[in-house]
C-alpha cells in the first residue's frame, strides 16, 4: 500500500485498540494501521520492541506517522525509530498531537494519498502551540 501508515502507541492496550477501531470505522481500510499498548507484562506502559513491530506492520514506502499518549510513549517511540535505523528512520515521524483525534485526522489525510509531511502537519494542527 502506498498510503502513509499510522501507528498508535498508548500506555493502555485498550486505548490503543479502541483508537485503531475508530480509525478503521471512520476512515476505512485504505491506510496501513497498527497499534500497541501495555508494558508487555500485563501492566500499563509501552514497549520499544512492540513499537518496532507495529511500525513494521504498518510500514509503507510513503512513511509512517506515530501517534502517542503520555511522555513515556513518546520517549519509547523515539527510541524505536532510532533502533530501526536508517534509511527507514527518515520516513517515520512521532507526531505531537492528541492520540485519538491525531490518529483519525492523520489517517483521513493519509487515505487521500497525502505525503508523510502533509499527514504529520494535519496531526500537528490539533496541538496548541
Amino acid at each position: 500500500m502506498s498510503n502513509v501508515g499510522i501507528v498508535i502507541v498508548s500506555h493502555s492496550p485498550l486505548v490503543a485498540e479502541g483508537t485503531a477501531d475508530m480509525v478503521r470505522q471512520m476512515v476505512g481500510d485504505e491506510v496501513p494501521l497498527a497499534w500497541c499498548g501495555g508494558n508487555g507484562h500485563g501492566g500499563l506502559g509501552t514497549s520499544v520492541e512492540a513499537i518496532m513491530n507495529a511500525i513494521d506492520k504498518a510500514w509503507s514506502d510513503a512513511g509512517v506517522a506515530i501517534l502517542v499518549d503520555l511522555g513515556g510513549a513518546e520517549t519509547n517511540s523515539e527510541m524505536a525509530v532510532e533502533m530501526i535505523g536508517e534509511p527507514r528512520s527518515h520516513r517515520i515521524v512521532v507526531c505531537n498531537a492528541p492520540i485519538v483525534e491525531g490518529a483519525v485526522m492523520a489517517a483521513t489525510e493519509s487515505s487521500g494519498g497525502a505525503s508523510l509531511k502533509e499527514v504529520v502537519a494535519t496531526a500537528h494542527e490539533l496541538s496548541p502551540s
Binding site: G43, T75, E78
Partner: protein, 199 residues
C-alpha cells in the same frame, strides 16, 4: 577491559539493583507509577543472563549490547533512558579508555540521555546524579569519592520539584521524595566505582 572484569561489572550492577529493587519501587510509588524497582531488576537480570556473551565483545560493543538489552527489557521510560546511557557510552568510548577518554565519553552520553528525555539537570531526574558524577570524574576524584558524590546527588533530589516524567504531574507534591531514577543511577555508579577500584 578483560572479559572477566566486564562480567564482574555486570554482576555488581545486577546485584545492587536486585538488592535495592523494593526500595526503588517504594520511591517510585511515592511520586511515580511504582514499577521502577521491578523494571530495573528485570532489565539487569536480562543483562546478567547474557553476561558471558556480552563480556566476550570489545568494550564499546559490550556496552552497546547492554544498552540495547536494557531498552528491550526494562520497559517504562527508564528503558530508553538507561539504555541510551550505555549505548552512547559504547559509541563514544575507545576499546581501552584512559580517564580523559572516559570523561569525554560520559559527557557525550549524558548529552544523549538529556536529549532522549528532553531534560536537563535540576529537574529531579537521573541527570541530577550523572552531572555531578561527570564533574567528580573530570576533577580526577577517586572511585570512592565519585560514589559518594553520586549518593549525595541522589539525596539532593529530595527537595527538588519534578519537571519531567510521571512525577511532574504531581507538581509541588513531588517535593520531599528522592527521585527513583536518581537513586538507581547512584547505586549503579557505586557498584561500578567499587568494582573498578578492585580491578
Amino acid at each position: 577491559m578483560a572479559a572477566a572484569d566486564f562480567s564482574r561489572l555486570i554482576a555488581a550492577a545486577a546485584d545492587t539493583i536486585a538488592a535495592h529493587a523494593e526500595e526503588l519501587t517504594a520511591l517510585d510509588q511515592a511520586i511515580g507509577d511504582g514499577d521502577h524497582g521491578l523494571n530495573m531488576k528485570r532489565g539487569f537480570e536480562a543483562v546478567r543472563a547474557e553476561a558471558d556473551a556480552f563480556s566476550a565483545k570489545p568494550l564499546p560493543e559490550a556496552l552497546k549490547a547492554v544498552g540495547t538489552k536494557l531498552v528491550m527489557t526494562v520497559g517504562g521510560a527508564s528503558g530508553p533512558l538507561f539504555g541510551t546511557l550505555f549505548m552512547a557510552l559504547g559509541k563514544e568510548l575507545p576499546a581501552a579508555p584512559d580517564r580523559s577518554g572516559l570523561v569525554a565519553a560520559l559527557g557525550k552520553a549524558i548529552e544523549a540521555v538529556a536529549a532522549r528525555g528532553k531534560s536537563q539537570p535540576g529537574q529531579k531526574t537521573m541527570l541530577d546524579v550523572l552531572a555531578p558524577v561527570y564533574e567528580a570524574l573530570a576533577q580526577g576524584k577517586s572511585a570512592s569519592e565519585i560514589a559518594d558524590a553520586a549518593d549525595k546527588a541522589a539525596e539532593a533530589t529530595v527537595p527538588m520539584k519534578a519537571l519531567r516524567g510521571r512525577a511532574s504531574f504531581l507538581g509541588e507534591r513531588s517535593i520531599g521524595h528522592m527521585d527513583a531514577g536518581a537513586r538507581s543511577t547512584a547505586l549503579l555508579v557505586r557498584a561500578v566505582a567499587e568494582t573498578v577500584e578492585g580491578i
